[in-house]
């Protein structure tokens, strides 16, 4: 029998109940998704069963306390505006997404690379293996990059992506999202994640979002509509700050 949404809903609920009960009993809050999260079927064979081995502070020579750097040669001015990469304008709801890249002590991560990729307004990626029957947009590739400024701020102009179907179970749909890939000052702060849009009705059905079992953590993946960021007669504005996890700031400082 094909796996239905209701099968997945019930698995999601079981995982959520188990997590909430554990936290109520004193277990630590999990800020990141479970790697072993069966409702997301692709995770079954792709998560380690052994615990991670901790590399603890104290050795400033640890290579992962430093990280890659990028500069003006690695981006062009056009890279942060995904609506001007082709001859014509892409179809869809034009928007700007901006926010700050911070470490857990609230310090801006300056001059660092932020990369994004996303589906078009019809929910289709410009990727050959994505073949569901929604139109490609010849004026939209859906790939951008930029460097954060001195306040750690990034900004992209793009169009709002559509939701799209996927093969996890029958009638599985991903809520609309933008993929982000970011770097901190330490390689150990590396992050790839997805930004969602407010009040998407698909949130509760999506095992990828629900793999983050902590509700407050899930909310941190949802951008805020910010009217002050909207540009008159041009675009909708969304604000989304990114906070990088990783080793303590002190340890990173020592590694520099």
């Amino acid at each position: 029998m094909a796996l239905t949404q209701s099968d997945i809903d019930s698995e999601i609920k079981d995982q959520q109940d188990a997590y909430d009960k554990a936290v109520a009993g004193g277990a630590p809050v999990l800020h990141h998704p479970r790697r072993d999260y069966a409702p997301y079927r692709s995770s079954l064979l792709r998560h380690p069963k052994q615990p991670l081995v901790a590399v603890s502070g104290g050795d400033p020579e640890t290579v992962e306390l430093s990280g890659p750097v990028f500069g003006v040669t690695d981006i062009t001015e056009h890279d942060s505006d995904l609506t001007i990469h082709h001859r014509g304008e892409p179809i869809g709801e034009r928007m700007t997404v901006s926010g700050r890249l911070l470490d857990r002590d609230g310090r801006p991560v300056r001059g660092q690379l932020v990369e994004i990729w996303q589906a078009n307004a019809a929910g289709r990626y410009a990727h050959l293996r994505e073949q569901h029957p929604a139109p490609l947009d010849p004026n939209f590739t859906g790939v951008g990059r930029t460097l954060t400024d001195d306040q750690g701020r990034y900004s992209f102009t793009t169009i709002k992506p559509g939701p799209y179907p996927w093969g996890n179970h029958t009638n599985a749909w991903r809520p609309a999202h933008i993929h982000f890939s970011v770097f901190g000052t330490a390689f150990a702060q590396r992050l790839v994640t997805q930004m969602y849009f407010p009040s998407d009705p698909l949130f509760r059905y999506d095992p990828i979002l629900q793999s983050v079992t902590d509700e407050a953590a899930r909310e941190r993946l949802v951008a805020t509509y910010d009217h002050d960021l909207s540009k008159p007669e041009f675009s909708m504005g969304y604000a989304w700050d990114i906070v990088l996890d990783g080793p303590s700031a002190t340890w990173i400082e020592e590694g520099r």
Binding site: H32, R35, Y40, S42, L44, L45, R46, H47, P48, K49, Q50, L52, V53, V55, S56, G57, E61, T62, V63, E64, S66, G67, P68, V69, F70, G71, V72, D74, T76, H78, D79, R104, G106, E115, W117, Y125, A126, R129, E130, G142, H179, S181, A186, F187, R190, L191, V192, T193, D214, A216, A217, R220, L221, D241, V243, L244, D245, G246, P247, G255
Partner: protein, 190 residues
């Protein structure tokens, strides 16, 4: 001290990053034609022992002189065409990015890292189905090391690349097993 901000959760890289994240010369960290270039290569396997054709690996390492400052220019862009220019063939940026191919294989061409202690290349693994990336290290030599020495022998071996594969003393084999028998040691930095 102020309370620390709560981190943004990780998410899987998904299946559709292939037109977005890989870049030309991502695997070519060593300047072209450099006489001391080495290759690190291998397969990424899932828990059934099947090679993973849609994994993405990020690499970070010290320069041959031990420097950890890195350099810009890993993914130089061409402002006139909007395409990529490739690396400049001179600077060593310390950063590489390689997607596995249809066989689940990757190859990185780099210079021997000059970090303190045993030389190692730090690896960050992303894949569809992997909700949160995994860090590991490819050690290019075995010997005394605080991390390796803390592991049982069979787990230690998963972090040490095998020298001399393909009949070359400049080629190192380093497979990554996400789950099951011979599961690679994955790291967290606290």
């Amino acid at each position: 001290m102020a309370e620390r901000l709560l981190p943004t959760p990780s998410h899987t890289v998904g299946p559709f990053y292939g037109h977005a994240l890989p870049f030309p010369d991502g695997s070519r960290m060593a300047p072209q034609g450099h006489p001391d270039a080495i290759s690190l290569h291998g397969y990424v396997f899932d828990g059934a022992g099947t090679p993973i054709p849609d994994a993405l690996l990020d690499f970070w390492q010290a320069a041959p002189d031990g420097s950890l400052t890195g350099a810009p220019g890993s993914m130089r862009r061409d402002p006139s065409t909007g395409g990529f220019l490739g690396r400049n063939g001179v600077d060593f940026t310390g950063y590489g990015r390689v997607p596995t191919d249809a066989d689940g294989h990757y190859a990185l061409h780099t210079l021997r890292p000059g970090n303190a202690g045993l030389p190692y290349i730090s690896v960050c693994v992303f894949a569809r189905g992997l909700t949160h990336h995994l860090f590991t290290r490819a050690y290019l030599a075995d010997g005394p090391d605080p991390l390796l020495d803390s592991l049982p022998a069979e787990r230690r071996a998963t972090l040490v690349a095998t020298e001399g594969a393909n009949g070359s003393n400049r080629t190192y084999r380093f497979d990554i097993r996400l789950q099951g028998e011979g599961e690679t040691v994955f790291l967290e930095f606290q």
